[in-house]
Subunit: 386 residues, 4 copies
């Protein structure tokens, strides 16, 4: 995703592509005084030794994305991004990540607190060197194994103490980045199903510091469609008997999700959404299969079996064929701009108005996409009125 | 549809079926003081000699609807309905209807005014014999050929004069029923793509008389899905390049729609909706093919080709397999109850709050299903507050 | 399946249904002097307490099969079938079967030899009481857990000795029926993925006795389509990169297949077929999900990703929506007639000419459906020439 | 197609691509002593001013085919091909072709005989300049409007006389190329649904001259699948009630096929095939819709409604998403090599053994793809045995 964000920002800046696909470039969001995309600088933490340019080349060769000419012209932008990348931390990322080849660069040694301190230094350094007004930290790493947040203390003071110890449950990497960002007063957004900032102790820290946070799990494909379609069944009182889905995909995300522990995190978000919208729990099943030949292209087949008037059974099926990173990248840019805007206006705590971007929006129980979009538009109207 | 409405009302009244599929049986609509379904009496005008029981039997034998036991137990209800059926008028129904075998019973002779007078007598008679508080007239006949409303006078006074003449453009049957109903102060709803009450002169009459009206074209299947999905493409700025659909169905509706003139009326509603929601006009094509073996089961395949970030082309396809009359019947019951409620509260003119039921809602430019449902729920909240 | 076979034979005998769907009623198979369907008598062994009539009623009520009128008229045939049903044996059927409710009637106590002896008595008794010329035994029971045939002795003499012991690996029920049938000189056919007669020692017995046998696993739906489509990819040198399938179904078969051990037997047949036809092993994945609301209706979605000229990736997807027992029942009747015919002509051993009916045809490495049909037609021509 | 053939031959010759997708590179066809692909020279007639390089660039830019690096390296091969291209004739190509912009270069003036004479000179010239052993002429032009061959004389002598006249029915361009090729003793193959050599008088000429000919209409996508699937319905006695297809495509082929007269030629081949394989005529409907955004990618949705045992209705649907020119190009190369081989062995007249390549194979009533492939393999075995 990060490489696609970089290619996209470079292409838009150089007039090689329209900002199509960016909700923040359209009405009504574009009416807010958002930071121009041309002024965004990219940095990051990374475990794999691959550079953004290498990733972009791979996406082009294997998945047919971008053009060779486009890639040639944004090469400079990707190099600049590369200069801002530092080794990440692999704490709590699970065996799948550790066993990647080439070996991840991020050290697993040291305490969580040491990792946080290092991340904070990197963030400050990135901000200073690029003379930035504000840094927004967005987690776009591979999904971590499902971790029970129950193992972590509920209060920040207790969690804070634990971070310095060498034993006991440590929060996963996604949460360490969250803590670091919050402590640096940099808005943090979790675009993955990993734990991130969705821990009571970390939310407490964000509230106390007044740092905006939001998550989790970007809503890009099958789940987006589910959050669009499911409200119709409810409005028409068509009773969903079963909702079965099967996803096939071939990128690294798919490889990681083929591992049961990592898949569990993803699926739990997908299935809770249906029950929440429908008001009851139909039979659901969501399969994920790693199919290497598909590369970044993802195909989802969903079969919805439903019962209408006089108990008549009917069905609708959809097939979604789309490119994961192409769907995710503009959302990441939108989120960065909207979080920056919110922070610039003194906003703090959980940004519930951004629910429409997430599969499991923090602090929001409404899962209908249309209603979530209404909420975001309501926020815009309020902001413009002020 | 009418036969399915009768079977359904009978089954619910006798406790043989739950009211599943009726939006008026669910929150929030059920909170209105609507007429109980058990107190609804059915009547109608018909061109074909088939009785409701014969139609219900056919739906059972050919399409697998209802059970034999259920049909046996609602036989009395269907006979009662049959007693309230009168021969209709075939004026303006097109050659497709005239060539049906057995021959339509409705006379084509006489002036439009004579047909209206006869319909009004039938309606009054139906009301009186059944001691009804209110009659709601709903057009569920086969689609008429597309008629240019431009041929008709814009003012009621002029149209009224023309109705008595033997020459000159006459409104089609759907409009004659509308005039009759409005003049009897009975709410009129056009559930078909036919012209009905969507003529300036007839709207003028309805406003003057204070009779509630609404239409056109019940939103049951493919178009319902389009009005649910299309807003997502707009919200995410995914540019729809083409939206192609192909429908196959085997009931009489399908046979009529296989005739180009009749099909034209249907398609124009389907395609305007997309342009209205998206804000631009993508390539669209909607095919309809009559496949007798499918009977009342309708399959729609839709292919949406869209462009996302960096001009990347992706697609989503859906396949909808449902039973037309089973989807339409509960909407007809819902509309009858809601129109009755509206009239009982002194409501008048175009019932724009019912837009979510229609492919081409009169007086409403909003085509997003979610927003239309919001509008209906807003109406309910206002009504409950009073 | 057995109940559907009984309803079908009754309906055809009474002229209530055409023999549509029976390959043996069509050219060229109908040119053989096969036993008339009206002279077939049904019997069986059963573990569940449900009668054929109850099963047929359930299929009607839940899955919409048969008509109430038809069921009423074949009631006598189903009762007669019921009279010929005896309690089966549950040896080796796995926990899934044992935990069925109501509890299976078949005893699990005693040695395998005792079970075989009892089955042989039942078979002789069935033959005598109905004055039959020949009995064909067909296994249509639920799939047993995958059993390694390696645990069983390779020679009949050794296996025979082991059957009488109370300890050591025993063959599963499907194999015990096979042994009993072969010893009674009754042709045995395994329509399921269970082990059945596909054990070297049992094949040795069949060859020695001269009893015709065949299996395994009736080819009815998704796998049938695969054996039809896959040869095209080979003939056109379109390289299959991945072949992913997902099945959803709601009958007892589906419930049993939701259990991993039982599913394994099924899947191994499905996936070996592709490699065998294509000549290489593409990525394959076949999911099965039990969706109760679908009852006997099964939906399979298959996605084939393939590479053509100049490495271009393309795909084809199919969706198969069919009724399992309706597809299987005529094959069972066809197999009974063809096995009877073969035995009547002195045929013996593995009936390789019946390969087109099976997912994993014994003694046949050709998996292309077209070539298998050619082989069967060749057999017919040879038989007619004699 | 021609540009893709040129890119492909260049890429294979230079070792930039494997011959994947060429049936003649696989067993058993590769066992024949076929001309090596590296020795094939391309020439042609063309109406549009676009060069092969421009077409290849368009396919790359719009449809994502080939790579920029690959295109750069075969640039010389495409230039060489360009040098061998001459202006074609537009006689009988229909208004669709004439109205293309930029205007077709081919003259419509002069008699058919003059056009033939010019084509023959071009062909001889091409052969001489490139010092070729043999020329095979393959029609890959856009589909001509459906022409009734009844208008043309049945005997060659009569047709020959007519060709020189300025009035009266003239054969379309595809037939003029056929006549020219046959008279030059160059095998002629019609890869399109146009009339070509499928005229009694022209077949008479081919038989008399001993020139091999074959056609019509390359079987690449939806129809290929139909000829693979339909035999299964027959073998299993599953009665096809309806077979409905809808195609969407965006290349020039699609633009031409959007014109009713041109579409008619295509559809008649597609639908006759089903009736021929099944032995009866189910309801069929095949729609074609031009969707510009799809470019060379074609999507076909087919819905097959069928009836099985006891009159149970079931269905299978497939969605085919493939690239037209990528599927067609290797067939064109295969046909060229096989026609050359046949001619080199003294073969003459209609090459019925090539039926598996065509939707409407001349002189062959067998439409099952599997049986057609068997026939081709039989030809290979005979040839090898000699």
């Amino acid at each position: 995703v990060a490489a696609t964000v970089a290619v996209g920002l470079g292409a838009i800046k150089r007039g090689l592509a329209s900002p199509n696909g960016l909700a923040t470039a359209c009405k009504p969001l574009c009416e807010l005084a958002l930071a121009p995309t041309s002024r965004i600088e990219l940095g990051g933490h990374e475990l794999i030794g691959r550079t953004p340019m290498e990733t972009a080349d791979l996406l082009h060769r294997r998945s047919g994305l971008f053009g060779e000419r486009l890639l040639a012209r944004v090469r400079g932008d990707l190099r600049e991004f590369q200069r801002n990348i530092r080794p990440g931390t692999a704490i709590g990322c699970g065996r799948a990540i550790e066993e990647l080849s080439p070996r991840p660069r991020g050290a697993r040694s040291g305490t969580a607190q040491q990792a946080i301190d290092r991340i904070r230094r990197d963030l400050r350094d990135f901000s200073r060197r690029n003379r930035l007004d504000r840094v927004v930290v967005i987690n776009v790493a591979s999904t971590e194994p499902l971790i029970r947040r129950q193992g972590l203390p509920d209060r920040w003071a207790a969690l804070d103490r634990q971070l310095g110890k060498r034993s006991g449950a440590a929060p996963p990497a996604s949460s360490l980045y969250a803590i670091a960002a919050i402590q640096e007063s940099m808005p943090y957004i979790n675009f993955t199903p990993s734990l991130g900032c969705d821990v009571p102790a970390i939310r407490e820290l964000a509230e106390a510091r007044g740092t905006p946070i939001m998550g989790s799990d970007g809503k890009t494909g099958e789940t987006l469609l589910r959050s669009v379609l499911a409200p119709m069944f409810r409005a028409r009182d068509l009773r969903v008997l079963s909702w079965t889905g099967h996803n096939i995909l071939g990128n690294r995300d798919g490889r990681i999700l083929a591992i049961p522990a990592n898949k569990a995190a993803k699926l739990s978000n997908k299935e809770q959404l249906l029950a929440s919208i429908l008001g009851y729990r139909p039979h659901t099943h969501t399969g994920i299969d790693f199919v290497e030949s598909l590369d970044d292209w993802k195909t989802a087949w969903d079969h919805v079996h439903f019962e209408g008037f006089l108990g008549t059974k009917m069905n609708v099926q959809f097939i979604w064929q789309a490119c994961d990173s192409i769907l995710a990248a503009p959302l990441v840019i939108d989120l960065a701009r909207l979080a920056d805007y919110h922070a610039s206006r003194g906003g703090r705590g959980v940004m519930t108005h951004l629910a429409c971007f997430f599969k499991a929006p923090m602090g929001v129980s409404e899962h209908s996409f249309a209603k979530q979009v209404d909420a975001l538009h309501g926020y815009v109207q309020d902001a413009l009125r002020r």
